[in-house]
C-alpha cells in the first residue's frame, strides 16, 4: 500500500504545460529537424551542380505533396529556431530574464514565427502562380 500522500510525477493528460518549457523543447526539436533539413539545402545545390536532369528531378520532388509538406515544416522550424535563437542571444546578454519578460518574448516568438511563415508562403505561392 502506498501511504505517502505526496503527488506523483505529472500525468501527461492533466499536466498543465508552461509556455517556457514548451518553447524550450521546441527549440531543441526544431534544431534537430533543421539539421536534417540542411541535407535538403545540400541536395538542392548538389542537384543544380549535377546538371539539368538531376535538378529537374529535385524540383519535381519539391513540388510534390511530400516535398511541399517537408518544405513547409522546414520553413516553420527555421523561422521558429531563428526567432527563439535571437531570444536566447538576448538572454545571453543578461536581459529579459524575469518571468514577465520571458513570457512576453515567448509569445512574441510565436507571433513572429506565424507571421514570417505566412508572409513567406504567401509571397512564394503567388510567385509560383497559385
Amino acid at each position: 500500500m502506498i501511504s505517502d500522500p505526496r503527488p506523483l510525477s505529472p500525468h501527461l493528460q492533466i499536466y498543465r504545460w508552461q509556455l517556457t518549457s514548451v518553447l524550450s523543447i521546441l527549440h531543441r526539436m526544431t534544431g534537430i529537424a533543421l539539421a536534417v533539413g540542411a541535407i535538403l539545402l545540400v541536395s538542392w545545390l548538389g542537384a543544380a551542380a549535377d546538371g539539368p536532369g538531376p535538378y529537374a528531378k529535385f524540383q519535381n520532388f519539391l513540388g510534390s505533396w511530400i516535398g511541399l509538406v517537408l518544405l513547409f515544416g522546414w520553413s516553420v522550424a527555421l523561422f521558429y529556431h531563428t526567432c527563439n535563437g535571437i531570444r536566447h542571444l538576448v538572454w545571453d546578454t543578461g536581459h529579459g530574464l524575469d518571468l514577465k519578460s520571458v513570457y512576453a518574448s515567448g509569445w512574441t516568438v510565436i507571433v513572429a514565427t506565424a507571421a514570417l511563415t505566412i508572409v513567406a508562403w504567401a509571397v512564394g505561392l503567388s510567385r509560383w502562380g497559385l
Binding site: L41, L45, A48
Partner: protein
C-alpha cells in the same frame, strides 16, 4: 566515523578527488562557438529565405546564374559552414544528453560529425562548381 562524515572543503566527492580529473575546460569554447555561429546565421538565414523566395518558379538557368554571382557564392558557402558547424555543436549536446553508454555515445558523435563534414563538403563543392563554371 566522524572523518567520513566531514564535509570536504572543496565541493567534490572523495572519489572525484581520488580520480583527480578536473573539468576539461572545453565548455566555454563550445558555448562561445555555438553563439558565434548563431549570430552569423541570423542575417545569413534571412538573406537565404528572401533569395529563395525570389527563385520560386525560376528555371535552372536562373538558379545557376544566381549562384554564379560571387556574392551569392560567398554567402552560400558561409551559410553552409555556419549551418553545419552550428548543427554539429547542437546535435553534440543532444547526443550527450540522451545517450548514456560511453561506447554508443562516442560512436554516434563520430558518425554525426563525419556526416556533417560530408554534407558541408558536398555543398561547398556544388557551390564552387556552379560559381566557377565558365
Amino acid at each position: 566515523m566522524a572523518m567520513t562524515r566531514m564535509r570536504s572543503p572543496q565541493m567534490r566527492s572523495p572519489l572525484g578527488r581520488a580520480i583527480g580529473l578536473g573539468s576539461a575546460k572545453e565548455g566555454v569554447e563550445h558555448w562561445w562557438r555555438q553563439r558565434m555561429t548563431a549570430v552569423a546565421l541570423v542575417p545569413l538565414v534571412l538573406w537565404f529565405v528572401v533569395a529563395v523566395i525570389g527563385l520560386v518558379g525560376a528555371d535552372r538557368a536562373a538558379m545557376v546564374a544566381w549562384v554564379h554571382n560571387p556574392m551569392t557564392a560567398v554567402l552560400l558557402i558561409l551559410l553552409l559552414v555556419a549551418t553545419f558547424y552550428h548543427a554539429a555543436l547542437g546535435l553534440q549536446v543532444v547526443i550527450e544528453d540522451y545517450i548514456h553508454g560511453e561506447a554508443m555515445r562516442l560512436t554516434v558523435l563520430v558518425i554525426m560529425r563525419f556526416l556533417c563534414i560530408v554534407f558541408v563538403v558536398r555543398g561547398i563543392l556544388a557551390v564552387l562548381k556552379l560559381a566557377l563554371a565558365a
